[in-house]
């Protein structure tokens, strides 16, 4: 009988260091499945961020570089520019990408660098122990906002996908989640599509994945899923914000 479900070749047989109820494991698997299906393991370079996924290379079996905090898009740019034949992806959290690395992601996206970013948004800093992130929700308690995020002091959470979609150049910007099986299937299709666009040398691609952090949210895994559905998803709506097909709408600029 044929096997219908097994560990992807691009994944090591290993126990992860992630907490119970964390969705990194699911997202890692979706990336690994994509690498398998597109048969690109031998020419893929991943970039691990600073954050909980810093050791993503312990689970995903391909060449990897380890980034400084926030700098993964600049490193991916360096690799992709000198070796356009390689498939390059960055895997970044919200503290990494939306705070310290906002400059790098905006400019890499705006140059239309032909790599793929998996942006895991769980509305908090995970590895450093639950501090406030730019994506933390209003009144959400964290270790650096113990009375809740005060929007009058630090503003409203940043919607990264919308922000990047406001740029003319980036081709594929989508927001997905993996907090339930129905969402996982869609997220998988989006991740595969993002890699596909890269293979076609078509555009910059970013998949934002709304995620959970039960440990730092102070919830059980079950509660975390409910909270993500009730609080995060209304503010971070799912779906494609931009696809390469939209780009023909932009009128060409006049140049003297």
């Amino acid at each position: 009988m044929a096997k219908t479900f097994q560990r992807p070749r691009a994944m090591f047989e290993a126990h992860t260091h992630y907490c119970p109820g964390c969705t990194h494991g699911i997202i890692h698997r979706l990336v690994a499945e994509t690498i398998d299906e597109l048969e690109i393991r031998g020419r893929t370079v991943g970039i691990a961020p600073v954050g909980c996924a810093v050791m993503a290379y312990n689970y995903i079996d391909c060449d990897f570089q380890e980034a400084a905090h926030g700098r993964a898009p600049a490193m991916a740019t360096g690799i992709k520019r000198v070796r356009p034949d390689l498939v390059v992806f960055t895997y970044q959290g919200d503290g990494d990408l939306a705070s310290i690395g906002m400059g790098e992601i905006v400019h890499a996206a705006n140059r239309g660098e032909k790599f793929t970013t998996i942006f895991v948004n769980n509305a908090i800093y995970g590895m450093t122990g639950g501090q406030m992130a730019p994506t933390t929700m209003p009144n959400q308690r964290t270790t650096t906002s113990p009375f809740g995020r005060k929007t009058e002091e630090v503003g409203m959470p940043i919607r990264v996908a919308e922000l990047l979609a406001s740029l003319v150049t980036p081709g594929y910007i989508t927001r997905q989640t993996v907090i339930g099986p129905k969402y996982v299937q869609k997220a998988k299709r989006a991740i595969r599509q993002a890699f596909q666009y890269q293979l076609e040398k078509r555009c910059f691609s970013l998949v934002e994945v709304v995620s959970t952090c039960p440990t730092n949210w102070g919830m059980t895994p079950q509660e975390a899923i409910h909270w993500a559905e009730e609080v995060l998803l209304p503010y971070y709506p799912l779906g494609d914000l931009k696809t390469p097909h939209d780009q023909s709408k932009e009128k060409p600029c006049k140049v003297k």
Partner: protein, 358 residues
């Protein structure tokens, strides 16, 4: 080989191409922007990669990514820009990646000025980034020497799998001098398949490569630092370069100076010779590793009464001169750091004052 008249910055740019480096990322900053301007049209001619990054911070990591992918890559900047790149330089050292950084120094601290300076000596030789990291630092005194140093920098970076810095003052970048280029592609880039994250398809062994600097296990981190230290110690054994000028016979004062400043010192030494005063000069060509033995031996010559460290900074290299001389002779600093290069007359005055009885 014919000579061409070239601005230092443009000669540095061309030298990198002749050294087989076709990948360049940079951010504009005075007084070295001509490197980027030159390469923006020259690299496409040779199918190279040119990219202007959004900041020196990002450029540092574009260098990291490209170096990690196993290609020859370099950038150029000036003092404040190098401060921003220093984070990436620490990561490059930690991950043992080869790359070349050119610093055409301007005055500091802060925005400082845009005129020549040598005030990044400490930064380049002792404090380039966090952690136990070191650069191999070379200091050219002419456009021709800048070209030759750029061309040797790439194979040296690969030999040690460590970044190399060319530390030139603003004058080296801005002045025009006749220059001839050594033969093209003296050194082929080395094979990097053992460590580079360049895709495992084409490698002989089916094992992926990790480029990283994180070692959470104390023993592993200590071992990585021991490996780095061994490389730095090997540099001290194998890479020290310096020029000795007028040190064959007796001299009453020894000058130690590098870069543009050393050329003024040479002129002063010639002028003093005409007056019957002999002055020797040691010109370090590598600042790390530092030519300690050469300075020590030259200072200990029995005719030598004092040692002068003459630099366009407020007293930085003088600490290495003192360390080298080990108290055998009095060591004195002289320098300026506003953008004016001290004149030969100032140096002559300084030598005469040093020799005059108290």
């Amino acid at each position: 080989m014919s000579k061409v008249l070239m601005k230092g910055n443009e000669a540095i740019a061309e030298a990198a191409i002749r050294a087989g480096c076709l990948n360049y990322f940079a951010y504009p900053i005075t007084p070295q922007s001509e490197v980027a301007e030159y390469l923006s049209w020259r690299l496409p001619e040779v199918n190279g990669v040119f990219l202007q990054g959004e900041s020196e911070v990002a450029v540092g990591y574009m260098i990291f990514g490209a170096a990690g992918a196993g290609v020859r890559v370099f950038t150029t900047s000036s003092s404040p820009g190098i401060s921003l790149m220093s984070e990436a330089i620490s990561y490059l050292c930690g991950a043992q990646l080869p790359a070349v950084f050119v610093n055409i120094m301007r005055g500091g601290p802060g925005l400082g000025g845009i005129l020549p300076s040598q005030a990044d000596y400490f930064q380049a030789t002792k404090g380039i980034g966090h952690g136990d990291c070191r650069l191999l630092v070379m200091a050219p005194a002419s456009v021709q020497e800048a070209v030759e140093m750029v061309m040797t920098a790439f194979p040296l970076a690969e030999k040690y799998r460590n970044p190399v810095m060319i530390l030139g003052d603003g004058l080296i970048g801005q002045m025009m001098e006749p220059v001839s280029f050594p033969d093209q592609l003296k050194t082929e880039p080395s094979n990097k398949d053992d460590w580079a994250s360049n895709g495992m398809d084409h490698r002989k062994r089916d094992k992926r490569n990790l480029v990283r600097s994180l070692f959470l296990d104390p023993e592993q981190l200590n071992n990585n630092n021991l490996a780095l230290r061994a490389k730095y110690e090997r540099m001290k054994q194998e890479e020290v370069r310096f020029e000795a000028y007028n040190t064959q016979g007796d001299y009453s004062v020894l000058m130690v100076s590098y870069g543009t400043m050393s050329r003024v010192c040479k002129t002063a030494a010639d002028m003093l010779k005409a007056e019957g005063i002999e002055v020797g000069l040691i010109r370090p060509q590598t600042l790390f590793p530092y030519p300690e033995m050469a300075v020590r031996e030259a200072a200990r010559k029995s005719s030598c009464r004092a040692v002068l460290s003459i630099e366009m900074s407020m007293g930085q290299m003088v600490e290495d001169v003192e360390r080298s001389v080990q108290g055998a002779r009095p060591v004195q600093w002289y320098g300026k750091c506003g953008g004016d290069v001290p004149t030969p007359e100032e140096i002559i005055d300084l030598v005469k004052r040093t020799l005059s009885p108290m």
